[in-house]
Amino acid sequence: GDTEGGSDNGGKSAKSGTKDNGGADNDGGEDEGGDTGAADDGELITVGIINNDPNESGYRTANDKDLKATFCEENGFKADFYYSLKNDEQITAAQKFIQDEVDYLLLSAADTAGWDTVLQDAQDAGVRVILFDRTIDADESLYEASIVSDMAKEGQTAVDWLKGQGLSDYKIIHLQGVMGSAAQKGRSQALTDTAASDGWEIVEEQTAEWNAEKAQQIVQSVIDSGKDFNVIYAENDDMAKGAVAALDKANISHGVGKDVIVMGFDCNQWALKELLDGNWNYDGQCNPFQSSYIKDIIDKLENDETLSEKTIIMDEKGFDATTITQEDVDNYGI
């Protein structure tokens, strides 16, 4: 781990600036936002929302739906959406929103890096930025708040659970998400650290880029090679699904009390069902419903209240196949 770390668990520790905030000098622009225009009664608050493509995963679809439901005209918002999985396109869109003079810029960045300049521009123009879902690698003063999942914590919860299984030996296939995304960093870090300290064997560590197809191929290849493994740690449900497809083909049993432990993240409804059926063992929650928090923050800012904390961390838990109930599936499935 070289550059991450800082920004990822940067929540309440409130120290996020790693070594790269050289270009960003604060001029405290955030205080004077509310004085003109925007908050006039009857007028809609304009927000520009930059998000990843909703069909990236079930998680993202839920996230997008949630945002759309909240930032609608009935609630007093005029929202423009821009979707892209490409960081540079997102940056360009941010510049565009600044030109369009939105009041708020909501941002879920594709990459953690590369955002400081455009956020500085936003600040200079008096556009207030709120990060959601994903942290970025930029100085804290450049945004008002960030509402994110603590990926490192998610990872740690999962790894702790795994530790609790008390296997005689751990032989793990580690399927990573797109390298460099906050979720990948956090969830990988936990496993890598623990594996090193507890002497777990990582049979295979590959990025399947959130992609079920790739995950299937990777696991298939491990099976073909005849290597032994007893845990699949997939950093999202889709990849876990791909891995399981490969296992099924090769008649390797998986799930509660079987040969291979399957772990996923995101809590898709179908994934929780797999847990309920005992086909998978663990699913870590990643809460996509940030919009109400964002709305709170915007309301506060409009009323010139100060924010109590810069980083809000979503409440999340992990589910074990042996304890999960239908109720959980209905409540937490996305």
Partner: protein
């Protein structure tokens, strides 16, 4: 005996415009029309000069890549490695500057070097071993993309001081700034990359228009066999087209790097398709022999403008972006094709006179 004799045709007025110029004109007109449309019907952002400058800033690298691409396409080839090279350049420079504590000039050299190396190898394979350019450069793209992740597989910001200073340097444009609704004065600016892009575009334009080696590119693209028989060194011309394109990709990669300020394996993904599409929109033909750098520049701007219009047209569902961009592209291409077809007919009729 033979009685071949012909009606004496009158001297026709010199044909109005070459294919190249015609296509360029179409592009420029469409661009202007779209911009006017945007100003009239979309958010007021389009009235601000900075919106235009932002398009330039964001697309400086693409302009450079597309110019190189046009050159290759004019000679009848294609280079789909440019996006990969861009990613490789930015990642290498980022690692070099940030992890290895390298210096800025060396980083620039490195960027140019990587570009040249790709151009050299691809050019040799295409020109001298006569392998299909699509395959060679497809392999080039695969290689560059893979190599990028081998260099380093995560995105990260570059904190090198010189670089950050360079990246933050903005060239302010006087009298173009505007006040926003909060009463703040926002100066208008362009980035250094834009200057580089414009300079390179002009350079290439001059090369293609006023230098003999430049005309050889057109000759080779128009008819390879004929060009050979007219005494053009076809292989060398093709080689140089790839070399220059590689060089442009290297420089473009660095400009891209300056714009985003980070290294990432995902950088510039799909840039090759954007570059090709821009060139085509700008009037360059994939079949070779026709093309113009000015057209290419406007091609890039048009494509960017389309995306910009779509993003501020208030189309909320994610799928609209892709569908609308494609729709506009489709209309554009069909119009272009109809105009070219009519023109061809006119040409054929002229040949009969």
């Amino acid at each position: 005996m033979s009685i071949v004799k012909r009606r004496s045709g009158e001297l026709r007025a010199p044909t109005k415009m070459t294919d190249t110029n015609l296509l360029t004109m179409i592009t420029i007109c469409v661009f202007v029309a779209m911009y006017i449309f945007a100003v009239l019907f979309l958010k007021k952002g389009f009235l601000k000069p900075q919106t235009f400058f932002n398009i330039l800033n964001a697309n400086a690298a693409l302009i450079i890549l597309a110019c190189g691409m046009s050159l290759v396409m004019i000679t009848g080839g294609i280079d789909i490695s440019v996006g990969g090279v861009t990613a490789l350049v930015s990642m290498s420079c980022a690692v070099y500057l940030d992890h290895k504590g390298g210096s800025l000039p060396m980083a620039v050299l490195m960027a140019v070097g990587i570009g040249l190396a790709f151009g050299l190898v691809q050019g040799y394979l295409v020109a001298y071993l006569e392998i299909q350019p699509f395959i060679v450069t497809l392999a080039g793209m695969f290689f560059a993309r893979g190599a990028t992740t081998i260099v380093y597989n995560k995105p990260f910001n570059v904190a090198n001081e010189d670089f950050v200073k360079l990246k933050a340097t903005r060239i302010l444009i006087p009298y173009m700034g505007t006040y926003n609704k909060r009463g703040k004065y926002i100066p208008a600016y362009i980035e250094i990359g834009v200057i580089v892009a414009i300079a390179l575009a002009i350079l290439l334009f001059v090369l293609l228009k006023w230098a003999k080696p430049g005309r050889n590119f057109y000759a080779v693209g128009g008819n390879r066999q004929s060009a050979l028989m007219l005494g053009v060194n076809v292989k060398r011309t093709i080689f140089f087209s790839h070399l220059i394109c590689g060089l442009m990709a290297g420089i473009g990669g660095f400009v891209y790097f300056m714009h985003v300020g980070s290294g990432s394996p995902q950088h510039a993904s799909g840039a090759e398709m954007n570059a090709i599409a821009s060139s085509i929109i700008g009037g360059t033909m994939l079949t070779g022999g026709v093309g113009n750098i000015i057209g290419t520049v406007f091609g890039v701007l048009s494509l960017a403008l389309i995306q910009n219009i779509v993003s501020s047209a208030g189309l909320d569902d994610a799928w609209w972006t892709g569908i609308t961009v494609a729709g506009m592209l489709c209309i554009f291409l069909v119009v272009q094709s109809i105009i070219i077809a009519r023109r061809k007919k006119a040409n054929a009729a002229a040949a009969k006179q």
